[in-house]
């Protein structure tokens, strides 16, 4: 099963809707609740990152035949300058607007990495690509 969601740049009103839908699907599948919680947190963080930092992108949600859950977040830029630094807890480049809305605490990538079974990130000026799996 594959579902793809478009995420718009700086659309704070719809921020989190894709994650809510993914969470709903996983709940109706009766996924283990601990795994579900990890996915919810990671997925929401990654979706918000696209809204705040990128020029837009998409989320691909897939459950493969083995029952492994894959989440891919692919945006179209402008990329992360220092990947190492961006994964440090508390480091944030979020705008004042994003912060005033309660987003951008600088825990995003760090949290994703700590809850996912596997976490892969690459970034260039053309875009950032994150792939996470959950078993």
């Amino acid at each position: 099963m594959i579902k793809v969601y478009q995420v718009e740049k700086e659309n704070y009103e719809d921020a989190g809707k894709a994650s809510s839908d993914i969470k709903r699907v996983l709940k109706s599948l009766g996924i283990d609740r601990k795994v579900l919680k990890s996915i919810a947190i990671a997925c929401y963080e990654a979706e918000i990152n696209i809204v705040i930092h990128s020029d837009g992108g998409e989320i691909t949600f897939e459950i493969d035949d083995e029952g492994i859950i894959h989440l891919s977040f692919d945006d179209i830029g402008p990329g992360i300058d220092d990947l190492q630094l961006a994964q440090t807890p508390g480091y944030s480049t979020a705008s004042t607007k994003a912060r005033s809305l309660g987003f951008g605490a600088g825990m995003g990538l760090y949290n994703m990495k700590s809850v996912a079974s596997s976490f892969h990130i690459e970034s260039s000026k053309e875009g950032t690509h994150i792939h996470m799996t959950f078993v």
Partner: protein, 386 residues
């Protein structure tokens, strides 16, 4: 457990108001019959309220029959009843009238609620998680059914009314007592052996307080029976009074607001709140369906008599109040579930997805899953037939 919300067919015009009103999509109409999914039903009162023909029923205990069975009958009265009174003395008049009706003893349990209220404030300080407190059986069922990820956030307390009943059982261990719980809401009716056959309960009978009202009212005079209410217990059941409007302690009322806040917790997005009290009804238990008062004025009534309530606390041992919340895990492999999900989705794609409800299901997904299981076919869909 027996079904709480029941359907009695005669007179039903299949108007689907119950189907559309249900907040947990538990109701469907199949073959001209209203079916209530007892697993999904969270025992709120919404369908009962929506039913114009009054064919959605909630069973009540036959009080006269039950009364004769025991040598000593005890009435447990809910704290929320206080919202109907202007003066504290009125609760004493009420207690007197209940005794005059035939009860041997009237017991109030706001002292237990107060202790658990303070315990919740304390327990939520010592953790980095947002904690939830709910003595609302309806909310707790919602969490079990829809938010199993948040079970660890729910403070592991027994219902105050059950603790009160257990204490009475211990006190009168050598006596044949009948414990009657007067309930302000439908959800609370499940906390008793009868009428819904909850054998785990320490309470014998639960009955709606609105049914008692005419009996009590008839017997009301100026005479009083001494009864104590605990200030913190009273505060703990009123939305606006819970937590003194502290930033870190909030109350959330109504199922849609509760779902919104639970969604935020699932995404780990509540940063400053430590404790949330959850109530299905507006303003908490004083919004209970069976109360004759209203929560809009009731909230002010309660505030004006709060200072006449007791502040001495009843200590409780941990083994008296501790109760783990359990969830039922479905025994199915992910592959099976995924296959089922894909099958339902494929059918769903062929349906209009307006969720109009005229097929008798709350939404197209509901119809799709019954088509998938072979129970019905898509000729039920009026939009497709058109």
């Amino acid at each position: 457990m027996k079904p709480v919300i029941q359907y009695l067919g005669d007179n039903c015009k299949k108007c689907i108001k119950c189907v559309k009103s249900c907040p947990s999509d538990a109701i469907s109409i199949i073959n001209e019959k209203v079916i209530i999914d007892q697993q999904k039903c969270i025992h709120c009162h919404v369908c009962h309220q929506a039913c114009e023909k009054k064919v959605i029923k909630i069973e009540n205990v036959d009080l006269n029959e039950a009364f004769k069975k025991h040598e000593y009958n005890i009435a447990l009265i809910p704290t929320a009843i206080l919202s109907d009174f202007d003066h504290y003395d009125e609760i004493k008049n009420l207690a007197y009238a209940i005794k005059k009706f035939g009860f041997d003893e009237v017991v109030q349990y706001s002292d237990i609620e107060g202790t658990l209220y303070k315990q919740a404030l304390k327990d939520s300080q010592n953790t980095d998680k947002v904690m939830l407190t709910s003595f609302c059986p309806t909310v707790n069922r919602l969490i079990e059914n829809e938010y199993p990820t948040l079970i660890e956030h729910l403070l592991p307390y027994e219902y105050p009314v059950e603790i009160a009943a257990k204490k009475l059982r211990e006190k009168y261990h050598d006596k044949d007592i009948g414990i009657f719980s007067f309930c302000e809401c439908v959800g609370k009716l499940v906390l008793a052996k009868e009428p819904f056959d909850n054998q785990d309960s320490y309470i014998d009978y639960a009955l709606s307080i609105s049914r008692m009202f005419p009996h009590i009212n008839k017997r009301k005079t100026n005479q009083q029976e001494e009864i104590e209410m605990n200030k913190y217990g009273v505060k703990s059941i009123v939305g606006d009074l819970f937590g003194n409007r502290r930033f870190s302690v909030i109350s959330v009322e109504g199922l849609s607001q509760i779902r919104a806040v639970l969604d935020l917790i699932e995404f780990d997005q509540l940063k400053h709140v430590q404790l949330i009290a959850l109530f299905h009804c507006y303003q908490g238990c004083i919004g209970g369906y069976y109360l004759w008062s209203n929560p809009f004025e009731g909230r002010f009534h309660i505030e004006s008599i709060l200072d006449q309530c007791q502040t001495t606390m009843t200590p409780l041992n941990k083994d008296e109040y501790y109760k783990e919340h359990l969830i039922h895990v479905k025994q199915q492999s992910i592959k099976e579930r995924l296959a089922w999900f894909n099958k339902v989705n494929a059918i769903l794609e062929t349906l209009p997805q307006f969720d109009c409800g005229s097929c008798g299901f709350a939404n197209c997904r509901g119809l799709a899953s019954k088509i998938a299981s072979g129970e019905v076919d898509d000729s039920l869909c009026r939009v497709k037939r058109r």
